[in-house]
Symmetry: D3
Subunit: 271 residues, 6 copies
Amino acid sequence: MTNSPVTARPFAPASRLWADLSGPALTSLLTERSIAVVPIGAIEHHGPHLPLRTDALVAEAVATAAVERVAAQGIDAWLLPTITCAKSDEHHWAPGTLWLEGTTVLDVLIDLGRSIAATPARTVVFINGHGGNVMLLGWANRELRRRFGLRTFSMPAGVGGPGDGLDGRPDERGQGIHGGFAETSVVMHLAPHLVAPEMPARNVPEHIAGLKHIGFNGKPVMFGWTSDDFGPEGVIGDATGANAEYGAELFARGVDFVCEALAEIEGFVFG
Amino acid sequence: MTNSPVTARPFAPASRLWADLSGPALTSLLTERSIAVVPIGAIEHHGPHLPLRTDALVAEAVATAAVERVAAQGIDAWLLPTITCAKSDEHHWAPGTLWLEGTTVLDVLIDLGRSIAATPARTVVFINGHGGNVMLLGWANRELRRRFGLRTFSMPAGVGGPGDGLDGRPDERGQGIHGGFAETSVVMHLAPHLVAPEMPARNVPEHIAGLKHIGFNGKPVMFGWTSDDFGPEGVIGDATGANAEYGAELFARGVDFVCEALAEIEGFVFG
Amino acid sequence: MTNSPVTARPFAPASRLWADLSGPALTSLLTERSIAVVPIGAIEHHGPHLPLRTDALVAEAVATAAVERVAAQGIDAWLLPTITCAKSDEHHWAPGTLWLEGTTVLDVLIDLGRSIAATPARTVVFINGHGGNVMLLGWANRELRRRFGLRTFSMPAGVGGPGDGLDGRPDERGQGIHGGFAETSVVMHLAPHLVAPEMPARNVPEHIAGLKHIGFNGKPVMFGWTSDDFGPEGVIGDATGANAEYGAELFARGVDFVCEALAEIEGFVFG
Amino acid sequence: MTNSPVTARPFAPASRLWADLSGPALTSLLTERSIAVVPIGAIEHHGPHLPLRTDALVAEAVATAAVERVAAQGIDAWLLPTITCAKSDEHHWAPGTLWLEGTTVLDVLIDLGRSIAATPARTVVFINGHGGNVMLLGWANRELRRRFGLRTFSMPAGVGGPGDGLDGRPDERGQGIHGGFAETSVVMHLAPHLVAPEMPARNVPEHIAGLKHIGFNGKPVMFGWTSDDFGPEGVIGDATGANAEYGAELFARGVDFVCEALAEIEGFVFG
Amino acid sequence: MTNSPVTARPFAPASRLWADLSGPALTSLLTERSIAVVPIGAIEHHGPHLPLRTDALVAEAVATAAVERVAAQGIDAWLLPTITCAKSDEHHWAPGTLWLEGTTVLDVLIDLGRSIAATPARTVVFINGHGGNVMLLGWANRELRRRFGLRTFSMPAGVGGPGDGLDGRPDERGQGIHGGFAETSVVMHLAPHLVAPEMPARNVPEHIAGLKHIGFNGKPVMFGWTSDDFGPEGVIGDATGANAEYGAELFARGVDFVCEALAEIEGFVFG
Amino acid sequence: MTNSPVTARPFAPASRLWADLSGPALTSLLTERSIAVVPIGAIEHHGPHLPLRTDALVAEAVATAAVERVAAQGIDAWLLPTITCAKSDEHHWAPGTLWLEGTTVLDVLIDLGRSIAATPARTVVFINGHGGNVMLLGWANRELRRRFGLRTFSMPAGVGGPGDGLDGRPDERGQGIHGGFAETSVVMHLAPHLVAPEMPARNVPEHIAGLKHIGFNGKPVMFGWTSDDFGPEGVIGDATGANAEYGAELFARGVDFVCEALAEIEGFVFG
C-alpha cells in the first residue's frame, strides 16, 4: 500500500529545459528516444542597428518555441542551454564581438556530446542562428557520431539554406546575409527595444551577386571573407523597411520549419 | 545646424547587457574604466531536489542584480552572457551534468579575454557560482593579464570563501557545499518551482569535518574528490529545512557582497 | 654586354607545378597576382569496384588540367602537391581508408597557408575531390584569411553543389554521392584499369531521398552519418551502367567549371 | 633450503627515494597503501637577496624531512624527484625565471599520474613550495583522480594557508608572500650562502592589506597580478631582520605540519 | 557450379599501390606479413638549381622501385601515397618551402598509423628522403609501436647514415648534405629537365668539417641549424660536376639498400 | 668615493648553478657569451640492479663536473636544474618508470627556451643521459633556434654515439645500451650503494647485432622498439663484471668529452 522508494519518480518540474531538471529526474524521464536540442548562436557585430546577441537571440527563441510545440505533439525533445558565443572569426575585427577560436567551439561541442552520451538520450540536434557556425556544426555532427555513437543533426534556425538563411528583400539579390532585411525584421519582432530607429545604408555586394560561381550560399565556390570586406559597417544586406510584421512571419516560418525538421528527425532515427 | 555623422552617437538601448548593444554602440559607450562582468556557473547534478542549472542560475541572478545596482551608482559595469557549462568534472559520473574539460573552459576564457581586450574595456570580473571553477578562474585571471594586459578578478557569487561559498546550517559543520541548506534555500528563493518538495537525506561527511588539515575550503590540504565519494545522491550537506526566506536573505547578502567587491575593484584599478 | 648577376633570372623549367621550381625561381616568377592551387582528395573506401584513391585521383586530374588551361590563358596559377589523405572519418570503419583527424588536416592547411604567405602569392584555391572535406575547407578558408591575410577559395572538382558533386543517374535520386554512377564513370575514364569489371548492387538510400529537410546536399538539415549507415559495402548510389564515355564528359565538364571558376576568382580578387 | 628465485626479493637500498630503487624493487616494496610524495617548487625571481630556486629548495627540503620522519613512523611514503620548474607566469617578466606554461605543467602532472598509476601505489601527495602552483595543483588533483583513479592531495610546504604560506612579520600585514621575512628566514636556515648580506627595502602593498575583499590569500576576491605590479624588485613583503633562527623554527613547523598532514591522509584514505 | 559470392575475391588490379586497391581488395590481399611502405620527403628550398620537390621526388622514386622489386621476390610490400610536405623548419626562411610544424607531421603519422592498424598489416616502413625528418621518424616509430602495436621502421632513401645520406664528392668533406654533388646528381638522373644548367658556387662549411664533435651526421654533438646559416643560397655542399651517370649509380645503390633493408625487416619481424 | 647604486653589483654566491643566483645577479653576470647547460635524464626501469634514476644521475654528474671545469677555464657556462623525467615511452610497461609524453617534454623544452631567451644568454646546451631523448633533443634544438633565435646544441653525457653512448664490453657486440656493462660500471662509480650485488643475466640481442642495416645506433634503419622486446627484465646488454674502476674511467672520459665539446661550441658560436 505504500510507495516503495524504488518506484518513486524523482520530482520533475513541468519544463522542457534540460537544466531545469535534477540529475535523477533527467535520468528517469529521458529514454533512447529523447532528443537533446542545443541552440547555438553568436555574439558578434551586426551593424549599428542590431544587438550583438542577434544570432543567439534568434536561435534561442526559435528553438524554445519549437521544442515546446513538438513536445506537446509527443516528441521527447529537451532544450539545452544556448551556446551564446561561438565561431565568429569573420567579425573578429569589430569590437564587441565575443569570438571563440573554431577549435575551442569544437572542443565545447565534443565535451557536450560526451556529457549527453552519458544520459539515455542518443540524439542531438543543433539549432543554429549563425552562418559562421555551419561548417563547424557539420564537422561536429560527425565527431559526435564517431566518438560517442550519437545521432547528430544541425539546422538553421530559419528556413533558408545553410547560413543565416532567412528570406530577404528581392532587391538584396540573395546577399542579405548579415544585418539585412530579414534578420532585422526578426529582431524587430523579438526584441524591438534593441533595434535602432535608423537603419544603416543599403550595403549589398552587387559584384558578388553577379558572380556565377563564387557566393555566400548555394554557389559552388566558397571563399574566406571577413565582414569588413564589404564596408566598414559590417552589414551585408539592406535593412531599409524592415518591420516587425514581416519579422513575425519569418519567425513563425522558422519555428514551423524546425518543428517539421524535428518530426522528420524522429521518424528518420526511430521510425 | 545639422547633426554631423561624426558626432552622432549610435543608438543604444537602456541596458547594461553587453550583448544588447550594437558593436558601434559598445565602442562608443565603453571606456578604459568599463568593467566586463562575466557570470560563470555550471550545469551539474545537485541531488534529487535541485535543478542541474543551480550554479548558473545563482551566478547569473547575483551578477545581474549587482551590475544593475553598481551601474546606478556610477560604476561602468557591463554584463556579458553567462558561461553556463564549465568545469564540473567532479560530477562527471552523474547523468545530466554537462561538463567541459578544464582545458576547454580555459580556452573559452582566453578567447573571451582576447575579445574583450579588443574593446575599450580593460577590466574583467568573473562572478562564479560553482566551486569547481575556482582554481580555473585563478589560473585564467593570470593568463588574461599576461596575454592581453587585462586587469582580472574572480569572486564567488556568494559571501563565503572560495567555493560555493554560502553560509549553511551550523550542524552541516561547514560541509554543506553542494545541494545543502544554503544553496537549496537560495534556489527556493530564485526558482521555487524547480525545487523538489522533498529534501534528500542529510549527507554531511562528518569524517571530513573532523579533520584538522584536509577539507573542502579553508583548510590547507586540498584533495581530488568527486561528488560520488560522499554517497550515491551527490549531495554534500543537509537541505532539511531549507526555505525561501533564508534564501532571499542569502541572495541579498551575495548581491551586497558582489556590489561592494565591484566598488572595491574600481577603486583598486582606477582609484 | 655581360649578364649581370642581378638581372639574371634563376632557371625555371616549363612547368606550372609549384614544386618543380627552385625556391629562387618561384620567388622570381610569382607575383601578387599568382594563385596557389591545392588539390585535396582522400584515400578511402569507395566500394568493391573503385580504388581507395578515387577522390585524390579526380581532384588531381581536374586541377592539373585546369591549371594548365588557365595558365595558357594568362592566369598565373600554380599547382601545389595534392593533399592525398584528408578528413575521411565517415569511412573510418573500412580497412584501407587512410583517415586523418579533422584537426590534423586543419593544422596541415594552416601550415601550408603560412608557407604560401611567405611567397609573393596572396591567393589560395583548394580543388576538392571529397565531400567530407567541404566543411573543413570552408573553415580553413577563413583561418588562412584571418591569420595570414590570404585570399582563399575552395570548390569541388566537379560541377555539382558542395560535396563530391558530380551528376549521377536520374534514378539515383540525387543520392549517388559515393561510388555511384557519376564517380564510377569518371574513374573509368581516368584509370579504367583500377575499376572492377563487376559493379556492386544498387544502393540508393530511398528513405533519405524522400525526406523533405534532411539530406546529403542541398537540404537544410545536415546529419552526422558514416558510410556504413547505408549498407556494408559503403557505396551510396548506383554504379550500374557507369561508363568511360560519360566519365569523360563529366570530367571535361569538371575541368570547364574549375577553369571558369579560376577566371572568376582572378577577376574577383584583382579585377 | 635454498632461496627460490620466486621468493627472492630484488635488491633495494635503504632509501625512501622512489628513483633510488630499481623498477623490480619498487614493484616489490610498494603496496596499495604506499604514498607517492611529489615536491613541486619554482625557479623564479625572488628579489635581489634570494636565489631563483628558493621555492624548489624549500619544497624539497620540507618534503625530504617529512618523508623520512613519517616513514620511520610506519607510513609508506616515497619521495619522487622534485618538479623544479613550474607555473611562474607571474614572474615571467624577470630574467632568470624558468617558467612553464600552466598547460605544460598540467601535462607533466597528468603524465606523472599515469606513471604512478602503473605501480601498486594509489595515492599521490604534492608538497608545494610556490603559491603560483596552488590552483594548478587543485586542478591536477581532480584530473588524476578522474583519469587514473588515484587519491590525490596537495598542500603547502609551510603551515600557512594556500600560497607560499609561511608566517611573516606582523608589520607585513599578511602581505609577505614573496621574498619577505618568513621566506628569507627559511632560506637563511637552509642555504645561508645563497642569501645576500643586504636585504631589499621593505615593499608591503599597504593598499592591498587595507582592502576588504581583494587579496592574495584568504580573501574572497582573487586577482590576476604579476609580481612587477608591486615594484621593480619583484619582492612582496619585508625581509628586514630575517634570520636563520626564525627560519629554522618555521622550517621545523613546516615539516611538522606536513608530517601531521601525511598521517591524516593515511587515516583518511585507508583508515 | 557457380562461384558463391562468399568465396569470390574482390577485383584487384595488378599494382603494389595501396590506394590503387579497393577497400575490400586490400582487406582480402593483405595479411599480417604485409608491409606498409610510406615514402616521406619534403618540399623545400634546395638552392637555385634543384626543384623544391627534390626530397619527395627521390623518396618516392626509390620507394617505388624498391617495393616493386621486393614484391617480385615475395615480400608483401605495399606502397602508400608519398607524404610530400613534412618537417622543413630549417628552410622556413626560404620562399617556396612548404613546411609543416613538427607536431603537425607527427599527428599525420599517428593518424596514418591508426589507419594502417585497422588493416591486416602490422608493419610500417618509412622511406625518408629528407634529413630534417629523421628525428621525427624515430619518434614516430615509437609512438606507432606503443599506441597501435605496429612494428615500425624508418630508413633513408639513400645509402648513407641518418640524413639525406647520399655519398658526395670527397672534397665536400662529408658536408654535401643539401643540394650538393650527390643529391644534384640523383635529380639529374631522375628529372633532368628540372635541374638548372648552371650549378651554384661551392658552399662547403669548412669550419664545421674541421670540428671534432659538432656536425651534421655521425658526430656526437647535434646543433639547431637553419640552412641560411651557411649562406644566402641555402646550399650545403658542392654541386659542381654533378652528373646523371653518377646519379643513376647512386639511385641504383639507394634502391639496392632499401630492398636489402626491407628483406632484413621481413626476416627480423617474421623470421 | 661612494658606491653609486648604478655600479653596485647584486650579491652573487660563488656558484655556477643558474638557480643559485638571484634574478638580478643572473642578469648582471650573464652576457651574450653565456652558455646555459641543461642536463636531461630519465627516471626509468634499468633492470633489477640499477636505480630508476640512472640516466638522471649520470647526466647531472657529468654536466656538473664539466660546467665547473670549463668555467674555471673561462667559458661562461651555467648549470640549470636537471630535467629528471623525460621521454621514456620505451619503458612505459615497467612500473616505476616516470615517463612523459614526447610532446609534453617538447613543451617543457620550448618553455625553457623562451625563459632562457629572456636573459642575456643566447646559447643552450643539453647534456643528455638517456638515449630515448636523442630524437626529441634534435627536434628541440631546431624549435628553440627558430622560435627564439637561440643557438642550441645537444650531446650525450658519455663519449659514444647518439644514445646512452658509453663503451661496453666487446662481447656485448655494441648492444649494451641499457643496464649493460658500461652503464652499470658508471653507476657503481657514482652511487655504489644503489647497485645490486647480483648482476642480471646477460641479455644481448644477438639477432640484432648480426643485422646489417637495422640497429640501435650507427646503423641506417631505426626501429620502434620497447625494452620488453628483449626479455622481461628490460636489460639490453651484459652487466657481468661491471666495476667501479671502469666506471670511474668512463665517467672521466665522459666529462672530458663534454668539456671538449663545450669548448668547441664556444669557439663555433663566438670564435
